[in-house]
Symmetry: C2
Subunit: 450 residues, 2 copies
């Protein structure tokens, strides 16, 4: 149902854009939730995006659309946009989103924007810009409810009605001392349940989870997920409350990190590129194929090295694909399990020995099974036992080594604090290709007595 | 910091388990948040899990740990558990979690449990058991705040204090008519802000998002993420409010779906298997390698078919790895982009023609680049232009076809409503291997004039 609604909306927006039926389009845009509009927007061509964006009158809608775009689209779209208009759009947005966007702009343009923004807003944004993008500080919002611990429930409700009308996530009330240090937390629900004269400190929880501004965003996300909370307070080095990270941002982090890992493992960069232009996509993907190209050329030299075997027994060539394929596939299995296990916390770098040993045993067992099967095919085809044995042993060694390399490489990178996803894909496949081919020809050369 | 804390906790629990220092362990367990305990628990060996679980005295902690386990571990762990104890643990848990667990048990045991549970609780669980696991009905909780639309803010607060003390997610107040139909929504925050005598219908929003019980859980999750809401109400066919899906479950869905997609694409089933026993892991992975084995055997016959070319020009064999490797890698790039694009909604099945055409062009451009490069290596090595040309053309055709197959196959499966992640991995790589080898030998045979 949901998907159908999106589809219908996308279809009519496309149709109207093609026809140039702008007044009709303007009406549809007005009635549509910005979140829905944003989904459709991302599937449009750059020209249509430009056109549609100009047609939107409501600046809040524009803001939501901008906050969901990837870097390149955002830069293209806002390049020719009037500075005053851009500032007015940014002022409708939450300051963590504003910070993300401004951080992507060229320095000259971003400082021009900060100059034009209302002082209070720009000061907050400048504060946020000082944190790294992928830390708690970089993703937190600075509007939260902070109350003194001796304030009563009645006073708390009064301040909700006055100063905290616009807070995005008003479910937690944080208690701070005179220096702004976080000392406790309570909830809106508690506030409703206690008698009006109860002071906050009487019903707050003092055992409050918090994170430091420099904590990695993935760690923050895992913490929110683990404790099933709706927001986590962010404190600076001296434990002063400076912001909160809310659960909606946590969802975005998990989705983005999963996509990033998947794309990196396949060697297509860390951003979703299908919506980019052909030449841009090609340029992103080109370098990632170099590893496999180099590996293939090394494999070529390896095979060349065994030229005399090959020229006597040309049929050796026919089993190259299956031996490489079996190694490659089991290697991908092993490295995927390890990369994903590390990302979700099911595996830890500490387990390196257990995990690699286990993979090696599994690779060996699967290698025996498929070695017998593929060796059997060789025996049926050539009725030469020494060759069948060579094929079987090559499959076994290729699969064992592949499982070993596939699990060891990501563990090793993780231990060096290098992202295992980015390093694993091309390196593992390439290494396995070379090793498989080498083992195969070495074993055949010995067993065929060349 | 967070990671360190987990690590320290895990290390001390392991150490104490090995030493058998149970009374010390019991003390640590008592002081530890169940969510932290659960993380450590999942990294332990089955024997240690059994032992630690017995040491836990608090049934709520036990419940949280059980709710986070995968199917097999849960079944192993509870197999010998006393029925009364299991029922008492289940009664501390939210009914959506209870439903998940009971659904995994053998029929005899689950009905015995339902019999023993308190009537009200078991009736709710039985109701939930009738929905499919992966639908809104299967993941919703049935405790939510439903008020009549003419009730006043004061009355609403009074019922929060009485009947709705235990509601898990008390931030939305749903308004229903006399037949239980969902007619509006308001928030705890609104409730605090309005004068006490205001009736709910005066401050509720009537434009309320809801989902039907049979909506796929991934769609529900996307909806919660898109509109940045904390819970979405679930209604039956006649629009009666029957439950809510909360944001913490949405996070779990996204994480699980991402892991599932990644594991499926690598051909290692849809559950994280590294924590399982070696024989279990081996059995899960074995069948997935069949596709690649069969494909390799087909490639063997293809090469065999060109035996006469091979026996005259043995050096043909040396380029098999690089041609297969380049095709395989670009095919993985294409299929990964499409599978992830479909999963995140960046691509839709409607775009099949644009996407496949674009991939084909990218494959062609990258094919020209790497064809020239690898053809150059062939020319340098053998100084035979016709062969160098054959290698270059083989790389070009292999990479173009791979990009085509890599994007077309997942699109095609998605159109047939078959999960593109599960179908793509082995099929795409295997098809590309066979096609690459065939093109290479066909082109060489023609150009070398055999």
């Amino acid at each position: 149902m949901q998907r159908d609604r999106s589809k219908i909306l996308a279809d009519s927006i496309r149709r109207l854009l093609r026809r140039g039926a702008f007044s009709h389009l303007r009406k549809i845009v007005k009635k549509t939730h910005a979140a829905d509009l944003s989904v459709v927007f991302q599937t449009l061509s750059p020209a249509h995006q430009q056109r549609l964006f100009e047609l939107i009158e409501n600046r809040e809608q524009k803001g939501i659309i901008l906050s969901e775009l990837d870097r390149d689209t955002f830069l293209d779209l806002t390049e020719d946009l009037d500075l005053d208009e851009l500032v007015k759009i940014l002022e409708t947005m939450a300051n963590d989103d504003v910070t993300d966007l401004i951080g992507q702009l060229p320095a000259a343009r971003s400082s021009a924007i900060l100059e034009k923004m209302k002082k209070e807003h720009s000061a907050q944004v400048e504060g946020l810009l000082s944190y790294r993008d992928d830390t708690a500080g970089g993703i937190m919002v600075t509007d939260f409810i902070a109350l003194r611990q001796d304030c009563t429930a009645r006073e708390a409700i009064a301040s909700l009605q006055k100063e905290y009308q616009d807070v995005e996530m008003p479910f937690y009330l944080y208690a701070v001392d005179e220096n702004g240090h976080l000392v406790g937390v309570s909830s809106l629900r508690q506030l409703v349940l206690v008698p009006p004269e109860t002071p906050l400190k009487a019903f707050m929880t003092t055992d409050v989870f918090s994170v430091q501004t420099d904590m990695d965003q993935e760690e923050v996300a895992k913490m929110v997920a683990r404790y099933d909370i709706l927001a986590v307070p962010v404190v600076d080095e001296s434990h002063r409350l400076v912001g909160i990270v809310t659960v909606d941002d946590v969802i975005d982090i998990f989705r983005a990190e999963a996509t990033e890992d998947i794309l990196k493992m396949a060697g297509v960069g860390d951003e979703f590129i299908e919506t980019k232009s052909i030449s841009k996509s090609t340029r992103t993907r080109l370098p990632w194929l170099f590893a496999s190209c180099l590996g293939g050329i090394v494999a070529f030299y390896v095979i060349n090295h065994f030229e005399s075997s090959l020229s006597r027994f040309a049929f050796l060539a026919a089993f190259i694909p299956v031996i490489m394929g079996m190694g490659g596939n089991i290697g991908t299995q092993s490295s995927t399990i390890v990369v994903r296990g590390l990302a979700t916390g099911r595996l830890s770098v500490r387990d390196i020995r257990t995990v690699v040993f286990k993979e090696l045993v599994i690779g060996g067992m699967l290698g025996v099974f498929y070695g017998l099967l593929i060796g059997g095919v060789a025996q049926v085809s050539y009725s030469r036992l020494s060759f069948a044995l060579a094929v079987a042993l090559a499959v076994l060694s290729s699969m064992s080594v592949a499982a070993l390399v596939g699990s060891l490489v990501p563990m090793f990178f993780a231990r060096l604090n290098i992202d295992p996803a980015v390093a694993t894909g091309p390196i593992v496949t390439t290494a396995i290709d070379i090793i498989s081919v080498f083992f195969y020809f070495q074993i055949s050369t010995i067993l065929l007595g060349i």
